[in-house]
Amino acid sequence: MIVQVENPVLEVHDLTVSYDKNPVLWNVDFSIPKGKLVGIIGPNGAGKSTMLKSVMGLVDKQSGYVKVFNKDLDEVREQISYVPQRESVDWDFPASVLDVVLMGRYGRRGLFKRITKEDKAIAMASLEKVNMQDYAKRQIAQLSGGQQQRVFIARSLAQQANLYLMDEPFAGVDASAESSILNLLQEMRAEEKTIMVVHHDLQSAYEYFDWVILLNMRLVASGPKEEVFTPELLQETYGGKLTLLDSLSNFIRQKEFPIKG
């Protein structure tokens, strides 16, 4: 079940990626409409993070291509922003919160021009959006997991892009941070931004996203969540992973007798 769209923000065509000849993504082909909150869902090792990385050109593609706003990545790099997994960096690095958020301006400003007052104002405004403005001078080692995640999102906001790719922004953050990040993503959607999020929690996925991509090395489905969240497609995505079957049947039961609207 793959719904292709007209004038996609992101188009991934026949993408195949492998590490050391072991395929991680196989013939993945989908397109994403503008102004949606998109969830990439699938079991561990399904290639969710790899897909974001190959869109950003961080891993080599075996075959296929990616178009962003119908152009090659290098032509529209300023329009697209990537939020890596929080664990991918060393948070003991000697830098302040503001130092990190200002990195969001490096791409636009160029490495050899000075950071201007305007850049600083944009960085501070980004911190305000994630409600971290009081932490600007704080050393990054002193932040909690949820605060680190919000700093990463602020850095991404400082790029003033139109398409955001976020790798597990809800991983390892507490419930209040999760809901404040979700609020922010919804505000961004209201401004016609497109946000693609790697997410591993099936329970919350239905509530959070408008458009869902089900991935397990191959693309199982891509489309509006109402059409994608069927027991058959979910089973196809998670099938065989016995540990997950419990939560899966749980979820399907919940969907049949919805608690929330």
């Binding site: 961080l58 290098d74 060393d90 690095f93 000697p94 830098a95 990195m103 490096y106």
Partner: protein
């Protein structure tokens, strides 16, 4: 200028250049790359020496620096292609190149005034004696100190201009690539600088102790601050202090100068390890007791 002053200045210049680059090596968790480069440049030095016939000429510097960069390239190539741990690849590549260098050194021993002892331990004592003869003010300063000074200035200019590039590719290389900054390019710029500094330093302090100058000031500074610019400045301070104190320690003990400088570095690190206000062992213990 006195003999002691030139020796301390030599140590201070070596320590400062090494300390600045060492900060980025430590933060990138690749301190042992400095070790690898400092040994692996030996064949480059010997070849360049055979071609140019001098120890401190430009072709020698460039030749050796290229070998240094080639070393880091080779290490990455082997660890990727042979699916080997990075540290195993480092151990494999630099010992091999160093051994080739030693063989070449003994083969051509009669053709050059360079020996294994000088390579391993440096000859800081002879540095003030090597004076240029141009008949101008340039002659006041020993030749080697001019070279060390020029390389130090190159390092400062490179870090000043490239600060943001080094910062972002060190902290978060994937993100850097995502905004269009080449992490690979900045990696090799850093490796070129490390090679250059190592090559001009080995003659003064030897191939083994260069590593101490690359790693220890940076590691001490890392414990003393949370700010990268301050970390760079403190590392230079620690390096300079160790060359001053180390010189007098050597005089007092009538012992090796580079050895004493490095031992001083170790002591300075121990002091910051124990007493650093935030991350030191003792202040943390005291805080825990209060809490």
């Amino acid at each position: 200028m006195s003999y002691s002053f030139w020796i301390i200045l030599t140590g201070a210049l070596v320590a400062s250049s090494c300390a600045l680059l060492g900060c980025f090596l430590v933060l990138r968790k690749m301190s042992m790359i400095g070790d690898a480069i400092s040994h692996a440049v030996l064949p480059g030095i010997v070849i360049a020496f055979l071609i140019s016939g001098s120890r401190s000429s430009l072709p020698m510097l460039i030749g050796a620096a290229l070998v240094g960069v080639f070393t880091t390239f080779l290490i990455e190539f082997i660890s990727k292609k042979a699916k080997m741990q990075n540290d195993a690849a480092i151990g494999l590549v630099f010992t091999f190149l160093f051994a080739v260098g030693i063989i070449m050194l003994t083969l051509f021993a009669d053709k050059m005034d360079l020996d294994a002892d000088c390579v391993l331990h440096g000859e800081i004592l002879f540095i003030p004696l090597d004076i240029l003869t141009t008949g101008t003010f340039v002659d006041i300063v020993p030749r080697k100190i001019w070279i060390l000074f020029i390389v130090f200035i190159i390092v400062i200019i490179a870090l000043r201009i490239g600060y943001k590039g080094f910062l972002i590719t060190t902290f978060d290389p994937s993100y850097a690539v995502s905004v269009g900054i080449s992490a690979v390019l900045w990696h090799y710029v850093l490796m070129t600088l490390v090679s250059l500094v190592t090559v001009v330093s080995f003659e003064s302090v030897g191939a083994i102790l260069v590593v101490a100058f690359l790693v220890v000031p940076a590691a001490s500074a890392y414990l003393l601050t949370d700010n990268l610019v301050r970390m760079l400045l403190i590392a230079v301070g620690v390096g300079v202090l160790s060359s001053i104190l180390g010189y007098f320690l050597a005089k007092w003990l009538d012992s090796s100068i580079p050895g004493s400088m490095t031992a001083t570095l170790g002591i300075l690190f121990l002091i910051s390890f124990l007493l650093a206000p935030k991350y030191g062992l003792l202040p943390r213990k005291l805080l825990r007791k209060k809490a």
